[in-house]
């Protein structure tokens, strides 16, 4: 369980990152929180040669409002920081809700939102939240910044749209007045990766207004369930059952250690009902 021999270099600013990366070659990996990268090294699933530590690059830190009212979350923001940030609580509260489902406190203190997106684990919470909220990933490379919609950023199993010389600078969440978003997941033990999960955004107003259900842990990336969304938008007493049935067309879950496709679809139906009901409860509580 020891990492292979490694080189280590510490970047102090963005030009440093690009220079060190160019020198280190294509196999070198960026080290942020390391909470997924270090286990893969311990298992020797990866042998990057060199790690480029970006944790001291201030340009990748901070949570702030930008010109168009969007909330810009720096890539190095840890899960713990996300969970206790006052702006996040007001502007994008589902991010804080998601943090409570990610691993354990000791891991939340190191793991970062940029790392979670760059790693692109299909069972991870934050990539699904970003897709449900139509967030924008800001990639930065030697040529400058590039804005990529979260749904286009996550291209497959542990795969993203980042070019070899790019890294994530920040994620932006645009303001969505009156819109509510909930997250639910099913895991055998607290802190485990979810067997299946859902992020459901809807509103303003009723939960039937522009619903956006995004599932995680049931595909090779977060899956927007468009057929189920159309059923929910119809509204009425039969909408939920119709949406649950429509999930058969939206989801094609691969088998994993938790179970097969039928099991995963059942979890997805249960999660959809829980998410819809919690949106209704949240509306009734107002």
């Amino acid at each position: 369980m020891k990492s292979p021999p490694l080189g280590y270099v510490r970047a102090m600013d963005m030009p440093d990152v690009f220079r060190l990366r160019a020198n280190a070659g294509p196999d070198a990996r960026v080290l942020a929180g390391g909470q997924s990268l270090l286990p893969t090294l311990a298992f020797r699933l990866s042998d990057p040669g060199t790690l480029i530590d970006i944790t001291r690059v201030d340009a990748l830190r901070g949570i702030r409002l930008v010109a168009d009212g969007a909330l810009r979350v720096g890539a190095l923001t840890t899960h713990a920081e996300l969970g206790r940030d006052a702006l996040v609580r007001v502007r994008v509260p589902v991010l804080a809700d998601a943090v409570g489902l990610i691993a354990h406190p000791a891991i939340r203190n190191r793991g970062t939102i940029g790392g979670s997106l760059a790693y692109a684990d299909p069972a991870a919470e934050l990539p699904a939240v970003c897709v449900a909220l139509d967030a924008v990933v800001i990639a930065v490379g030697p040529a400058g910044e590039r804005r990529i919609a979260a749904r286009d950023f996550l291209t497959g199993l542990f795969t993203t749209a980042l070019a070899g010389d790019e890294l994530i600078a920040a994620v932006e969440f645009r303001p969505m007045p009156g819109r509510r978003t909930v997250i639910h997941e099913l895991a055998r033990r607290s802190g485990d990766y979810a067997m299946a999960g859902i992020v459901l955004a809807a509103g303003p107003g009723t939960p039937t207004h522009d619903p956006r259900p995004v599932f995680f842990g049931v595909g090779d990336r977060p899956i927007l369930a468009t057929r189920a969304a159309a059923c929910l938008a119809v509204g009425g007493a039969a909408a939920l059952a119709a949406a649950q049935a429509a999930l058969d067309g939206d989801l094609d879950p691969p088998s994993d250690q938790h179970g097969g496709p039928a099991f995963k679809r059942q979890l997805a139906r249960v999660l959809l009902a829980r998410a819809v009901n919690s949106l209704i409860d949240a509306r009734d509580a107002r």
Binding site: L31, Q35, L38, P39, A42, T55, P105, R110, G191
Partner: protein
Amino acid sequence: MSTSVDVTLSVNGERVARRVEARRHLVDFLRLDLGLTGTHTGCEHGVCGACTVRVDGVIVRGCLVLAASLDGATVETIEGLTESGEIADLQTAFVERNAAQCGFCTPAMLLTAADLLSAAARDGAVPSREAIREHIAGNYCRCTGYHAIVDAIETVATARAGKGRS
């Protein structure tokens, strides 16, 4: 490209300067380079929690942090917390409640419990048994069944809150 890195950091209040292999994680650094064996090496991939230590005031998995990345950091281990007396009440409660059996998970369990208790003190609240279980969910104990550990943490949380009020 260097495979060894010079680091200077604070460990339990003492300044430590060492040249470390880049791949060396914090637990091996503490145990093998500094002889601080209170922090335990369990799964070495972030699952069991036995290597929990404090870095810059917050708990982390020691096996998921490279020593090379800790230049300028402040590290606290079970040895430091024991010496300062910060968790003496918690340690006493663990003994009284038989919350330690084989003891392998105990140092990390104490660090994680101390983290919850200091957060609770900031909020002025006594954590529920459910909240205690949730907070220690990332620290595996294969002996106790957790009940005695929850008892011990709850006892200290209640006692500390009582002192705060009086």
